[in-house]
Amino acid sequence: MLWQDLCTALFGAEHAVQADGDFICGEARLDGRPITVFGSTNHAAVGVELALRQARVVLDTVAAHPGRPLLLLVDTQGQALRRRDELLGIHRAMAHLGSCVELARRQGHPVLGLVYDQALSGGFITSGLIADACDALPEAEIRVMRIPAMARVTKIAEDRLQALSADNPVFAPGVGNYVAMGGVRRLWDAQAPGGLAQALRDALADLPLQDERARLGAERGGRRLAASVIDRVLAAP
């Protein structure tokens, strides 16, 4: 879905969300309540500059609008694979964005991630996956790598990976697999009563305060070990 159509569906035509290149930002209102909307489009490669622009939005919101919800719209092909970004310390810029979101969370800002198009690897860790919860549209695409690339890297036959991925969400791309593993909390149904706006209303109303993803992954059967390993570490003599 285009971010413009998404924002119209969520907020009507009156919102002030705009794109500047791959960067999206602006204020919108849900039931009269202001929300800061930001993120990326065009399957952006997240480099230092885009990470800093997003961090700036979070810091400005924390400084000027205490408690205002943040909606992080995710469409990324991952981190920028450029030597200049590595030179400039892209890892630190992404950590900074994550730290800004953590600050917002601690200061009482609800932070919701929404994958409306594509989410990949490094670009996802410091966007949707750092929010209080990350939801997705059903048509979204989420992955670390496609099966053919995974076959090359791991030197395991593609058809074998394909077969394994039929009942193990760990191996294959797909938004449903991320739901099963607890990385995505839920999918939004545009056809349900109230449409996407209602889905947003519901999503903001029940954001978890703690990281619940390991527990969700265990309950849903897509990531059976993480929660129990964490519990075992907590209980180890």
């Binding site: 230092v48 500059e49 800093l52 700036r56 810091l59 400084a63 981190q79 694979l81 450029r82 030597r83 200049r84 590595e86 030179l87 310390g89 892209i90 890892h91 630190r92 810029a93 992404m94 950590a95 900074h96 994550g98 730290s99 800004c100 953590e102 600050l103 690897s121 490094g122 860790i125 996956l129 750092i130 992955r143 670390v144 790598m145 995974m150 791991t154 395991i156 074998r160 394994l164 193990n168 969400p169 760990v170 191996f171 791309p173 593993m181 607890g182 990385g183 990281d211 993803r213 992954g217 990531r223 070990l225 993480a226 390993v229 964490i230 519990d231 075992r232 570490v233 907590l234 180890a236």
Partner: protein, 321 residues
């Protein structure tokens, strides 16, 4: 023990007539994770949680027919460092490049969550990782983000988390982000801390973008000296376990606040660097733009000489690491 370190070791003994510091003369890079850990903390103080005897390995690797490890490539537990109670984790670079899978990541997250509960003096991450383990890609990605959130939760609670980086595999990908979320980063001059490995960038954009075989280029783009000069590392140390130990002890009780003022300084530092950086992707012009004297000579300097040359920028002095 390599010859040069052994010599330093003896010089130190002769000079001060005292026994060598713990771990002196032992190369951090050449140690396995467990050797590193054992020599780094106080002698005999490491108590491991979920040790190899617990046979906790990755079920996903088994499905793929890939050899698994009974610790899934990471050792976690409690120890003392200079008498201080600390929690520690050491990633094994020789196993899957230190890649984070479901179990590996959950061990780290469990350790960090336990630290939030038990409040040790600090958590020390002996990080060596290529990032997400691609064999269990989706689970690894979520696991890394859980580790990241757990680190940030400790930052907020004021319990220092230190990343120590100097293994042959460096610290990359999601673990590169995690380390940069820590309170402090201690890096050796042969250590590397970055996001995407040079091979990945070369494969994606060609050899003209990043020649992964050009070792000098790789180190001046992602290596310890570069990171330290830019203010991306708290301390630059020699490849020596004792040096890491001394730096960790020095910075043990120095948390970095996670508040608006601190993050504004961090933002200003990163934005200033982006704005100062000349076009292109070469390190010496960036060093020069940051005020490093004799920038062209930096690759030839040893860590001691280099420490004198960190730019006196207020942002680097006040900010970040």
């Amino acid at each position: 023990m390599n010859a040069m370190n052994a010599m330093n070791d003896m010089n130190a003994m002769n000079a001060e007539n005292t026994p060598p510091a713990r771990g002196q003369g032992l190369s951090w890079a050449e140690c396995s994770a467990r050797e590193r850990l054992a020599a780094f903390v106080d002698e005999g103080s490491f108590h491991e949680w979920l040790p190899p005897a617990a046979r906790l390995s990755s079920p996903h690797l088994a499905l793929l027919g890939v050899p698994a490890a009974f610790d899934d490539g990471v050792a976690i537990g409690r120890a003392t460092l200079g008498g201080h109670a600390v929690f520690v984790a050491a990633q094994e670079g020789e196993f899957m490049g230190g890649g984070v899978g479901e179990v590996h990541g959950a061990k780290l997250t469990g350790l960090l969550q336990r630290a939030l509960r038990d409040r040790p003096a600090a958590v020390l991450l002996l990080a060596e990782s290529g990032g997400v383990r691609l064999h269990e890609a989706n689970a690894g990605l979520i696991a890394v983000s859980e580790v990241m959130r757990a680190v940030l939760a400790l930052r907020v609670a004021g319990i220092p988390v230190l990343a120590l980086i100097g293994g042959a595999n460096g610290c990359f990908g999601g673990m590169g982000i995690v380390a940069a979320c820590c309170d402090r980063v201690i890096l050796s001059d042969i250590g590397r801390h970055a996001m995407s490995g040079p091979e990945v960038i070369e494969a994606s954009h060609g050899v003209d973008e990043f020649d992964a075989r050009d070792r000098a280029l790789v180190w001046r783009t992602t290596g310890g000296k570069h990171r330290w000069l830019c203010g991306d590392a708290t301390a630059l140390v020699e490849d020596d376990v004792a040096a890491f130990r001394a730096a960790a002890l020095h910075w043990l009780a120095a948390p970095r606040a996670l508040d608006l003022a601190t993050l504004e300084v961090e933002h200003a530092l990163l934005a200033d660097r982006l704005q100062r950086c000349p076009p292109g992707a070469e390190a010496p012009p960036l060093w020069a733009a940051l005020g490093v004297p004799d920038a062209a000579r930096v690759p030839d300097l040893d860590a001691d000489e280099l420490r004198q040359r960190r730019p006196a920028l207020d942002l680097i002095r006040q900010g970040g690491f």
